[in-house]
Subunit: 425 residues, 2 copies
Amino acid sequence: MKPVRSAACLAVGSELLGESALDSNSLAVTRLLLRHGVVVSEKRVVGDDEGLIATAVSELLERCDLVVVTGGLGPTVDDLTRRAVARALGRQIRSDALVEGWVHERYASLGRKMPEVCRSMAEVVEETRPLRNLTGSAPGIYAEVGEAILVALPGVPHEMEPMLERELVPELRRRAGGLLGAHRTLLLGGVMESEVEGRIRPLWDRLGRESLTILASPGVVRVVLKVVTGGGDASGRLDEMEREFRDVLGDDVAGVDVGGLQEVVVGSLTSRGETLAVAESCTGGLLGASITDVPGASVVFHGGVVCYSNRAKESMVGVPGDLIERHGAVSEPVARALASGVRVRFGADYGVGITGIAGPGGGTPEKPVGLVHWAVAGPGGVEHRQKVFGGGRAAVRTWSVNAALDLLRRTLVACEGGGTGGAAR
Amino acid sequence: MKPVRSAACLAVGSELLGESALDSNSLAVTRLLLRHGVVVSEKRVVGDDEGLIATAVSELLERCDLVVVTGGLGPTVDDLTRRAVARALGRQIRSDALVEGWVHERYASLGRKMPEVCRSMAEVVEETRPLRNLTGSAPGIYAEVGEAILVALPGVPHEMEPMLERELVPELRRRAGGLLGAHRTLLLGGVMESEVEGRIRPLWDRLGRESLTILASPGVVRVVLKVVTGGGDASGRLDEMEREFRDVLGDDVAGVDVGGLQEVVVGSLTSRGETLAVAESCTGGLLGASITDVPGASVVFHGGVVCYSNRAKESMVGVPGDLIERHGAVSEPVARALASGVRVRFGADYGVGITGIAGPGGGTPEKPVGLVHWAVAGPGGVEHRQKVFGGGRAAVRTWSVNAALDLLRRTLVACEGGGTGGAAR
């Protein structure tokens, strides 16, 4: 069997075709696969429709080495993934005593009797391997179709993720000849994609197009380094590539194989035993939400103030009223006062302040929509930055959060004595 | 031409296949289409690869009445949507003086000269209609392929959305025979999907499967009412259906054709001239971020405190230390004190408090992971609720935010004198 190189994610569920929900499972799947040298080349979402699911499975199996299906494995009439997989593979469905035992056991462990409706979860597609679910009740499906692999997993993240790790990763490793991973992702903060492209152009030309991918989102750029040929020294080759890129990118590298700047910052503060508080205006809580997205953030994060009104900036963070009057709420002095003020109020080692105009309204010729000031206060003083971000309200808010996290990260690195961000590794 | 009924979204861009970004454009597209009676039946994401984009376009055009492509229309070598559309339709590309004029004008309006690289954006696919971009530089594509419509738009939300509204909606209306919309979405808060299903089962059986769709996400359920046959009285028919569902669902209906509970709450507070402040622990800022996601929220939202640490709960919101000691930070008395305290500190009409255990760690047998207490303090007193939510850290946090918004919404409705939520319409 050749190593798995390309994969597709197929999310099943009509709720993912509405106005509010996105297939966020694909992010966890992508992260895990990238760690093992597999690139996702296509994503799809289809509703609870047996024919559409089956068509998607067939089309994707023809195009990719691996297809990961999530959702539609539960017990209700809307759960059609099992039947669709059977149809796509041209195989039968039968009930299975072993799998029924798993489901019974799962309910028993919760002190409950298996509802009759759950019997459908004990059905298996012939010539496939049922996958046990240790954190939920719906079993998964593993099938080899020619050289390709099909995995179907429940849509609940904390069921899906451990099953993927336990059931798929060993096979990825086996096919890769023991190779742990042929990818490495450098996370860059405080840079624009176009600027990064210019700086790494010579490396890119020398190493070849296929050796890296640049992924940009508001406020962060990811450079994925890839070793195209497998083999035992892939890790050494990646080390070498990483060194070359770090030489060019320097302190802009925030971390390696991490989820985001918030993870870098929480990790860095944790290892230093220091604490953080934030005061945010235009981001309205998004910075706090981002930081507390990291499990264990409570060790370093005291909390924050969402000071949307000027009155809240004064009363809750202690920004002097005349400062707001003289310079306006969106200004350097107010950003600095927010950072310093929240640091003192929460008794934290570091304070972050953000104030800006997210839009769509509220802009003026001198202070246009997208103008954001942010500052970090720490033992060594207060650092401030400002910028006009584009892309609409949501993008301005995300940019602001990442810009502030990046300034904090750089402040922490500087306090260490000017390291290259390697500590975040 | 028959009315457009089914649509697919195709997002183009390798950055959407990484570990962090999702195709959020599809949500805006879905929202607009649902308003005009069109259901999205499939979503796809492919990278910057001409062949893969072309294949996806061809496959989707065979299956759907409408295909909306976003992204890949910019000027760089990675922007391949124009060429892929030409390939999928079997048509040629030529440069177009009119379209080049648009791009020149756009740059001129920004006081800049058009960079040479942007000349590629003036290329058009033969026998398609180029779409002018008034908020950016990349033009779009409109093509009729048999009875189907293909629209390709830039991936930048504030460019894509107005173009879709301006260029596609008139055609949707024309094909629907002047019908403004044959869908209406009831937003329900504070209910479980399974429970809603049970209550509306008789209506569902009587009206037929195709007349409604239920979309569930953590903390909200959407019931989409559909008039399947077109015609001038669709609106009257929807009014009638809405009445029938409201008779069954009562106060659980939070709003109609709204984006989320935060929109209902901000709208309700705005019309009453009242204000809000929030104190959140386990949600870490997500409640504030959700509220301030609504443009214009600043009129009613003073701000909030993210009190992750116990010390912050005491010093920033005034929760008595002995209350935390006696009952624990995750408890009814602390949730009540958070809501009352933040109301007083910010001088707001209403205060919301949330405290819980989002996990994965921190649970105990008496207080398991997922346990959340929330409370709303207002002129009429303090209301409290609690629940154990499942689904992992992210789901628990989203559930908590929506549960708190829903309690606030119900409190506001109750103060009005027990309305049925119709005011949020």
